[in-house]
Symmetry: none
DNA sequence: GACTTTATGACCTTTCTTGACCTTTGAATA
DNA sequence: TATTCAAAGGTCAAGAAAGGTCATAAAGTC
């Protein structure tokens, strides 16, 4: 049922949440061994689950004494945030990337759970394909517009 | 008499009624096997019986560890949402009418102020005209989908 | 008989998992 | 110092494991 990749992801997030410094350092081979899987499976989890949209950076080093470092990014609420988002979103935004980003913004409490569900439901491929020639462009533009609006000061009064 | 689709529907509703969380997760292949039918028959049942208008949302995931999740929407005693959704089916929704509707739903505390602003910003004509051939159809469809999702029971967990 | 609903099967896309092979790094050795 | 080698991590393609779509046949309905 729940697959290996999900379990590894969950484990990493668990120990990451307990890490005071906001990052963890570990060895690929060792992790793979403890999950009884191919080492490349670890890379798969890292590249699919610990992406920039989801709020992570992964650094690594090869050779003797090599390691993986997974860093949890925090969003600073200063205006830098919007530029960062705009850059991250770019001109197109697939459904997958959008979902990752929205989840992340929910974790950062920029969106409520209801808002996250609302936006995701709009962005679903099945909602857009037959009506919009380029859904990815639509998502990118809309996401930026939403973020701009969510920064309005009058909104939580 | 009682055909396959009806029996599958009945079965799903039965286990759904026993699900504390308001949703069930299962595998298409497994379900098809236990009813001795083609997997696509399950999709048929889902698309004809478990629609938003009937009070359900279906999510799914492909690949290893894939699944179907059927979510029962919360009760809507006055049937207000259902009526609204029915009205919006296949209909068109101008920006003006959309704004009025959203304002009303905000007054009725179905949407928060933030949510209202969010939706309106998406529906703005300037956001849609150049990307979408028929913005009004898009608004109607999207509004329906949003309403359905706002009925989700798991939304405040 | 015409129309609608149900059912199937062939083919497609997405996601996960593994294994073979490659690259980098640092330490030991010639 | 230059070379070698072991110990990491990286990449990629193939195959498995799910669910999705669509045309068409079969079964009901009027």
């Amino acid at each position: 049922m729940s697959n290996l990749a999900d379990r590894i992801e969950e484990y990493l997030k668990m120990i990451l949440s307990e890490a005071k410094e906001g990052y963890i350092v570990l060895q690929r081979g060792f992790l793979a061994q403890s999950f009884s899987c191919a080492p490349s499976q670890i890379n798969y989890v890292l590249t699919t689950r610990f992406t920039a949209e989801r709020g992570y950076i992964v650094e690594s080093r090869r050779g003797g004494g090599g390691y993986l470092r997974i860093i949890r990014l925090g969003l600073d609420p200063e205006g830098k945030f919007q530029r960062l988002m705009a850059e991250l979103i770019g001109e197109e935004l697939s459904q997958d990337r959008a979902n990752n980003l929205i989840d992340r913004l929910e974790e950062e409490e920029i969106f409520t759970k209801r808002e996250a569900i609302l936006i995701k439901s709009i962005f679903a491929e099945r909602m857009l394909t037959d009506l919009i020639p380029s859904p990815s462009v639509f998502r990118a533009r809309t996401m930026k517009e939403i973020l701009a609006n969510m920064c309005r000061d009058d909104i939580n009064v």
